[in-house]
Symmetry: C2
Subunit: 362 residues, 2 copies
């Protein structure tokens, strides 16, 4: 069994992997809150819409402390499945990866050190008002990216933001990509129709149609996106190809990639998508189609997890399409394997994940 | 002329320099505001006490943009001498050093990316109330230091905080060191008597005497220190000897060193003080005596600047004892020289500083 699946352009996948092999990354987790994420039925990133604001902060706390401070237990889906941050935590502990937290814009801050880019939490994109000051978040992200590119071998950029695939659909549509029914979901039943309705309503509120912001990615974020996107876009721009960047996420990161492509295609010459098998195999979304529309030369790498034999139900359900990805889980697994591809296998990581789950206090 | 002066234990100075030679550092600038810094006559870090809150944020903005956003021009002393941040900026631009900003606790935030450690601005130590939550700042600083130690070759930690030598006297006294008339000043006439009165008043307010907090450095900060100290102490603790740390500052950094020594002497095994000739030659303070009291094995390195022949009066006055140090100026010069000691001399850096001054819009 291959530990990493290479989707799309094989040569470009190999080239990217060659750039990172034997190296340790810096994990940068970018978090955000939006009103979009609280629309009922849109996100599984929290037991109910009212507490989704706490999920990103709680994920960060879990990554640092192995327990959360701002909530009891750990973030769970409405049916009680714990955060994919467990996967990330197991991996970064095992490999001793450094990690930093960046705030795109939140209502709830983690009890941990964090990097502020001057952004605020986002609105509800069905109103056509999403991010107050994407230019500022972008500019600060750019400074950060520039400085991190001088100290890190490469970046793995993860995210935690509820409703992130809906805002992904928002910006992808505004940029002119055909993304309906192509963005994924943390829910087993992708609420694709609801997402389309939300984006349609937002476009209407702004009197815009699909593709109208093709040349204006920052306004696409302002109206239909989220603060995480502005932050990651800024970081990518600051890195500007100087070190590899693995965007650790599914179709949310495809949206960021689209923003970068439309801002300046040169920015993504050394950028790849790093996600999970569950995202690339998902029948209710289509990340490969999205990347092919955006820029078919971008490598899509997927951690080839198989949770079928794991002891714990809360992990086995990933095989049924629950959760799928988040908090940089897939990208971290890829980075871990690439530190030593001959020795570090997905099986070893899964044992670590199982152990981490065992210590979980729900 | 030697570019770097080695003060105190020569063997330990050489050992530290051997650890950093040929390497680039990560500059971490830690900023803070306190009510102590606004006591009239205590600080030259601002044209008048009312605007000292803006000085640290303005220094950070200057380091990133070469101009300030939160004030017009750049920070100046009451007699119009511009910030030592000019020295730092000239050096980090010339050497392309990465730099990150950490907030100890401020009232005015820079328009730039910054790392929050959850701290607030400090009080007036003459009341015996200085820092609300030093434990929290320390704990977050520790996480940050731990993570930075995995990506940086070594750290140069600078500071910008008005009144920092008064809070240095505060904690040094609480820890039992004999620091009266030994902490330096950005003013040409060191207000040593005023500083002693402030600290005496603070001790009285807490019903404590010199040395009573010898074994309790975090409470020394809480009552008589500042948020910058808590942040730097936390970072040092997180780094915990894994990479070298150059504390870039004068007697303010001696106070941080004392806090670390009293918290756990193992923390400072790979820590040095990096400052300027103007600090070590200052007749109104005595950094060598302080370090000898704290731990005589700690290397004191000083950038051997000579601004006597520089075109601009605003820099020549450093030779008369104005400003002396700040914003990591001395430590950055040492780090710059150590990237390539055969080629990079203090003269080359002074030419860069002169050029930077030329572009200044006051």
């Amino acid at each position: 069994m291959d530990s990493i699946l290479k989707i799309g352009n094989q040569g470009r996948c190999d080239l990217f992997l060659n750039h990172i092999v034997g190296k340790s990354p810096l994990l940068v987790t970018v978090i955000g809150n939006t009103e979009t994420g609280k629309i009922p039925g849109i996100s599984a990133a929290g037991a109910n819409p009212n507490i989704t604001d706490f999920t990103p902060a709680a994920d960060i706390e879990y990554l640092y402390y192995e327990f959360c401070k701002c909530i009891q237990g750990v973030p769970v889906t409405p049916t009680g499945i714990p955060t994919p941050g467990i996967i990330t935590k197991a991996i970064i502990d095992h490999l001793d990866f450094p990690h930093l937290t960046v705030i795109g814009g939140v209502n709830i801050f983690p009890s941990a050190p964090f990097i502020s880019l001057g952004g605020n939490a986002g609105g509800d994109i069905s109103t056509g008002s999403a991010v107050e000051n994407p230019e500022k978040i972008f500019a600060n992200g750019e400074i950060l990216g520039k400085n991190l590119s001088k100290i890190a071998n490469y970046l793995v950029i993860g995210e935690s933001i509820a409703g992130g695939t809906t805002t992904a659909l928002g910006v992808l549509t505004a940029l002119g990509y055909d993304a309906n029914n192509k963005v994924s979901s943390s829910l087993p039943e992708n609420p694709s129709r609801l997402k389309i309705d939300i984006v349609t309503s937002g476009l209407k509120a702004r009197n815009l149609k699909k593709g109208d912001l093709k040349e204006d990615p920052l306004n696409a974020i302002k109206y239909f996106g989220d603060p995480m996107q502005a932050a990651v876009l800024g970081i990518i721009s600051g890195v500007s190809g100087k070190i590899p960047v693995l965007l650790a996420g599914g179709t949310q990161m495809a949206a960021v990639l689209a923003l970068a492509q439309n801002l300046n295609p040169n920015l993504i010459s050394n950028v790849a998508i790093g996600t999970t098998k569950w995202i690339v195999n998902d029948e209710s979304s289509d990340i490969l189609n999205l990347i092919n529309q955006i820029n078919p030369t971008v490598p899509i790498l997927a951690a080839n997890f198989n949770f079928g034999d794991i002891k714990y139900e809360g992990l086995r359900v990933y095989e049924t399409g629950m959760v799928k990805e988040g908090v940089g889980a897939g990208g971290c697994a890829i980075a871990a394997i690439m530190t030593d591809p001959k020795k570090m296998t997905i099986d070893i990581l899964q044992k670590e994940i199982e152990k981490k789950y065992e210590h979980l206090s729900l």
